[in-house]
Symmetry: C2
Subunit: 409 residues, 2 copies
């Protein structure tokens, strides 16, 4: 059976498993008889410039598929392009549909986070208006795990595994010195603390985990912070703290804004964060006079494909594959979600959800999971997150380094 | 055959393979008939407080040995204690020999870098003076690769592998955006640029490597730097730069000192570095008005035991094992060195070298290996360093995370 063509894109910040979703879309579409699977370069921004590839030119065999699963960052290139509403820029929409029609595209997939789901929402609504039969499906992707309606998002498990593993190594490193010290590890997360909370997964038989965890869900108070550090220092030499880059004081200001003159803002209106750990490290050095070190995990959290969660890879593929199946069934304007059936044994199924329930919304860590006066997370968090970091996928090592599949070097 | 007891310690900054050397000392000493292998907690500083363990209480079987090889940071704890010269503090030396004699220690091993080798030098000279038959051997250890007389040091290969792998992932991440950007990756290295140079190993069939590399061996010039970035920007959107934390301007000042009021100094007189990438990132943002990001690999370079070089692990073990064999032969006041016999196939042997040739000296990257006006390294560097990152040692994963052996959690 021959079907229409497919257009797939990747948008927003990359993850270690975003290419597994791309592979899921590609392989399933081909298996189901779609003729050409196009990949837009740099998301909708590149599509508008008619920059796209035929993915078959790059994935030629099963080895390429496995290699792409092990390749970090967005294979097709990404963008941070905010598609204006159709009534404000109808020419953009007309242009997109013109290109899609020319290429005989019937199925459109966008792998992204909540901002990208807005694009799927706008395009599917426009399709309805102009009576186009092109189907638009969202494939969830974000290390931040902040998408509404889904148990979790592909990308989160691998980032959590990287953060917890690295945190174990950092803790072991920090505690080997006999001197007084505070190590502050800055973890991504603008408003949702899922990633920072994941540092608690390092708590295991061979590691006490970080001593204090500060999430953006809780108002940050400098005095309380200082008292909490002092309290820990009473019984231990080295104190290790996990902080979210997005922690804010009671006035709503990001802590990292305190020592900056200017703050960059991206096209979605998000402020560029960063500097929280260094700021707090300087603050503690001033207040306590002991050695403090700030460590920023930075983009490594989202691109360390050498240390992914096998379960996350499998689920990311599944999200892409099931988005194709849903589109072939006739679904549009929806996103694939995960529903958890059980924790022990861990079991999930996918479903589809109206994109309007998801786009532009954020899911935060439940306040009842935040314990110890806002400085730790509960066992419920562990039960929720632990299954997502299980299993490994060995990188393909060539000349001592992980090998990647690429379009441009 | 029963021999005297052994005392072993770890000193200075940890590495991912420092425990493989400890295992090499322990296993060889036991195999050769030494009765008790004591481990000093926190190096010579802990020994002076009579803090030590019987390592057999922690390594009970071959699984423990394999687990310890996969454990980052110094298992025994480390210190940054500078042993004063014997004429200035004879009581410290008398105390150390009193403790060693009480424990019937005949062989003393110190796993460390150039500062730690000074300790071996002082102790072996004191032993000669008081006619003690205790033998003192140094086991090389430093990610910095800056020890004299040895082809390379255990710890460097794994740090280089981590840096090159991470650099590949960072480059892929940075280049996925269609926007103009400069990413500055800060790598450890006070005066020697070996680690920063290792970022060039990321250059391979699937990766162009960093665009510019700045080593501490070359005087840093702000204007040249700006011109070099502008030149790269002419032909590419995303520019990726590797900088050593230790780069200095013509007046001998560290670049990272430019935006600091105070600089901490440790007991060896080393200034605390850090902040170079952020400073340069801010500088470029001001000058060019484009998005610049600083990424600091920080202590992850020395503790990421989940991504070690198998060859480095093997050689670190061998350095410990051969130090024991040398001490049993009667050597003292020496350090194990590596001599490279050939690159293809890669082959080394160990030898011993008088510690006075090594202590307190630093080996830098040869200037003839630094190319492109001080912004890259030559093929000779690749030929030298590539063999050292070959091979992997899979971590033992438990509940999704690498498992470690520990004394204190």
């Amino acid at each position: 059976m021959t079907r229409g063509n497919v257009m797939v894109g990747q948008s927003g910040g990359p993850t270690s498993v975003i290419n597994a979703s791309l592979v899921g879309v590609f392989k399933t579409a081909k298996d189901e008889g779609c003729k050409t699977v196009y990949g837009m370069r740099n998301g909708i921004e590149g599509l508008l410039e008619e920059r796209y590839i035929d993915i078959s030119d790059y994935i030629k065999n099963d080895l390429d598929i496995e290699l792409l699963k092990r390749t970090p960052s967005s294979f097709l290139g990404t963008c941070r392009f905010k598609l204006p509403k159709a009534e404000k820029a109808p020419e953009l929409y007309e242009r997109i549909f013109e290109i899609l029609n020319k290429l005989e595209v019937k199925y459109f997939f966008y792998i992204g986070g909540n901002d990208s789901m807005d694009t799927i929402m706008q395009l599917s609504e426009f399709a309805r208006k102009i009576d186009s039969d092109i189907r638009f499906m969202g494939v969830p992707k974000t290390i931040d795990n902040d998408l509404a309606c889904t148990d979790h998002t592909p990308g989160f498990g691998s980032a959590a595994k990287y953060i917890a593993s690295t945190m174990k190594e950092i803790i072991r490193d920090a505690k080997t010195y006999p001197n007084d010290s505070v190590t502050i590890v800055e973890i991504m997360g603008r408003n949702a603390g899922w990633l920072t909370a994941s540092s608690a997964l390092s708590r295991s038989e061979d590691c006490d985990g970080p001593d204090l965890i500060y999430l953006p869900e809780v108002v940050f108070d400098h005095n309380k912070f200082l008292e909490q550090i002092k309290e820990k220092k009473k019984t231990q030499k080295a104190v290790i703290v996990a902080v979210s880059e997005g922690i804010k004081t009671a006035d709503g200001k990001y802590v990292c804004e305190a020592n900056k003159n200017t703050t960059l803002v991206d096209s979605f209106g998000h402020k560029a964060l960063g500097g929280t750990a260094l700021y707090l490290s300087d603050y503690l050095t001033d207040e306590l006079g002991i050695k403090c070190r700030g460590i920023v995990l930075a983009t490594l959290q989202r691109c360390a494909s050498h240390l992914v969660s096998r379960r996350d890879i499998t689920e990311a593929f599944m999200a892409g594959a099931d988005a194709v199946q849903a589109a072939l069934r006739g679904e549009t304007g929806k996103m694939i979600i995960f529903k958890r059936l059980s924790n022990n044994p861990y079991s999930i199924i996918t479903d589809v959800m109206d994109i309007r329930e998801i786009a532009n919304k954020e899911k935060c860590v439940p306040l009842e999971w935040i314990t110890e006066g806002g400085t730790y997370v509960s066992d419920e968090f562990d039960t929720y997150a632990r299954p997502l970091i299980i299993g490994e996928l060995s990188p393909f090592m060539v000349d001592g380094l992980p090998r990647h599949l690429f379009i441009d070097k």
